[in-house]
Symmetry: C2
DNA sequence: ACAAAAGTGTTCGTCTTACACCCATGC
DNA sequence: GCATGGGTGTAAGACGAACACTTTTGT
């Protein structure tokens, strides 16, 4: 017999920044135990998020389940979820939206924004790696040094490496370490680890499933779509090719309306073609089928 | 406070057939409650599988967690896992390997093996769909009728459709239905649904992560590799292009040895290049990055 | 010689990537 | 006019699908 805890990473994008909904001044994710009245895990999760933050997630998917130890001998099971929301406005006291990159400043590779943090992190990782070639190659593969490219999906692995090197405060709770920790806001328990898992999942998923649209208003311009993707991926994208990338998948259709009043040529307003959700099935084959 | 149940789908491929390890004469998956002594969910799972089947899974990954109701008012949480194993030999009484396709005969699209079952299923689905265009298009999308191709990853969705149409015995337990059910071996509780989830996950995963090698001996020929993939995907693959598909990813290296004594030209024996696990990180970008 | 399986070459068309350029609006 | 963002054309190269063909063994 165990306690089952539901934990939510609720994400939104505002002003080109991906944000996560938090409680306790940005140190914890909304969460609470599964209760009698909850008809399913998802409804339980939604109930907790709404009670603690007065926000209602739209799209929700399960992330991961892991075992923990409660104070005392009791066991706990934590079931984490990723939710997506269209607005990042706060009205409820205690609930705050914080940028992902407050917690993972090294993850924002747009226009070298992460450069200063990386300049701090990399020497310390080099010190941690020492002469060990296995450690050196792990650092290189994860942080894209030494000619290897940056892979934005390895969010969790990078966090775990920093944890292992005792460069994040969370690791110091259990194992002492020397020197300073690395920039990036701390969270309680393993909540920052869960956030890393959520970011990694979302960064992977936007590439092959039309989930971005859960974060956008129902009408949007191509640039808004692109900037939302860039915020999530933490990478700048090539504008003309991004347009073709979207058009080729037939993800959007024109509404007939355009923006106006801003600088530059008015942009066409688009909407998501909900029909693709049915059509899909043709996704990725990649295997060389016969005939 | 709830009961936490661990459930395993342990898969192997023998004689070109993908198999799953079962108990109770093929009607249930190995499972048991999380206990005090289990250091983690995974070790708990491994303990139960070994106790019930005397088999030890190699690779293990989490599938999905869902809530259930135990007899009485008590709640349960089921955490399901996918495990891969190199051998499908049975020595322990009560533990049996069964082909996936006993449970999902319509999923084996190799050389039209599923044709007879589909001939049985499709008319019944057509009857269920009736005049409803939404239902018709769902059937078409999932079963590849009407010009749309077969997508082998939609295992769970197809099972759920059959469930909804009350064409599987599991659905009849809760909701009555008319006429016969469709071929395919039944399982207790929702174990067949979990198996469908596992198959879908594995079919998706083999395309972008080198997990097939967990199912093969340490030395193998290109044909063995291909046939293992075909067994999992339930599709026949194009031999020359499959070779290039593997070579291009640099997944394997030659051992220097060859087969002999069989019909045809001897094949080179290969082994998995473990180095790729480190190199990876360059996986799939797909987004049009700038510069 | 022939069957059987291994393995190679090559073509054609599509998708990706990069670069260059034109278009429409506000000020 | 010019700054700003919207949008199109296109050529080089990578990749995928399909087909034809050569190679090496056992019988």
């Amino acid at each position: 017999m165990v306690q089952a805890e539901l934990i939510a990473v609720l994400a939104a994008v505002t002003d080109g920044d991906p944000r996560v909904l938090t409680i306790d001044a940005g140190t914890a994710l909304p969460s609470g135990p599964l209760q009698e009245g909850h008809r399913s895990l998802q409804t339980g999760l939604r109930a907790w998020v709404e009670r603690q933050t007065h926000h209602a997630p739209g799209y929700v998917e399960q992330l991961y389940t892991f075992a923990g130890q409660l104070p005392g001998a009791a066991r706990s099971i934590s079931i984490s979820y990723l939710g997506l929301s269209r607005q990042a406005v706060t009205e409820y006291p205690g609930a705050e939206w914080h940028s992902w990159y407050e917690y993972f400043p090294w993850e924002d590779a747009r226009a070298n924004r992460a450069a200063p943090v990386l300049a701090e992190i990399l020497p310390r990782l080099a010190r941690w790696a020492g002469d060990d070639p296995a450690r050196q190659s792990r650092v290189a593969g994860l942080f894209g040094t030494g000619g290897r490219g940056w892979n934005e999906e390895l969010v969790l692995q990078r966090y775990e490496l920093l944890w292992e090197a005792a460069l994040v405060p969370e690791a110091r709770r259990l194992r002492a370490g020397e020197g300073e920790t690395v920039p990036g806001k701390e969270m309680t328990h393993d909540h920052r680890r869960i956030l890393a898992t959520a970011i990694a999942r979302l960064r992977a998923k936007i590439k092959y499933r039309p989930v971005v649209f859960e974060l956008l208003a129902h009408e949007f311009t191509m640039l808004e779509l692109q900037q939302t993707m860039e915020a999530l991926a933490g990478q700048t994208l090539h504008k003309p090719n991004f347009r073709r990338f979207i058009e080729q998948q037939e993800l959007v259709e024109e509404t007939g309306k355009s923006t106006s009043g801003l600088a530059g040529r008015p942009a066409k307003l688009l909407r998501f073609r909900a029909a693709v959700l049915e059509e899909r099935g043709v996704s990725g084959t990649k295997l060389p089928l016969v005939k």
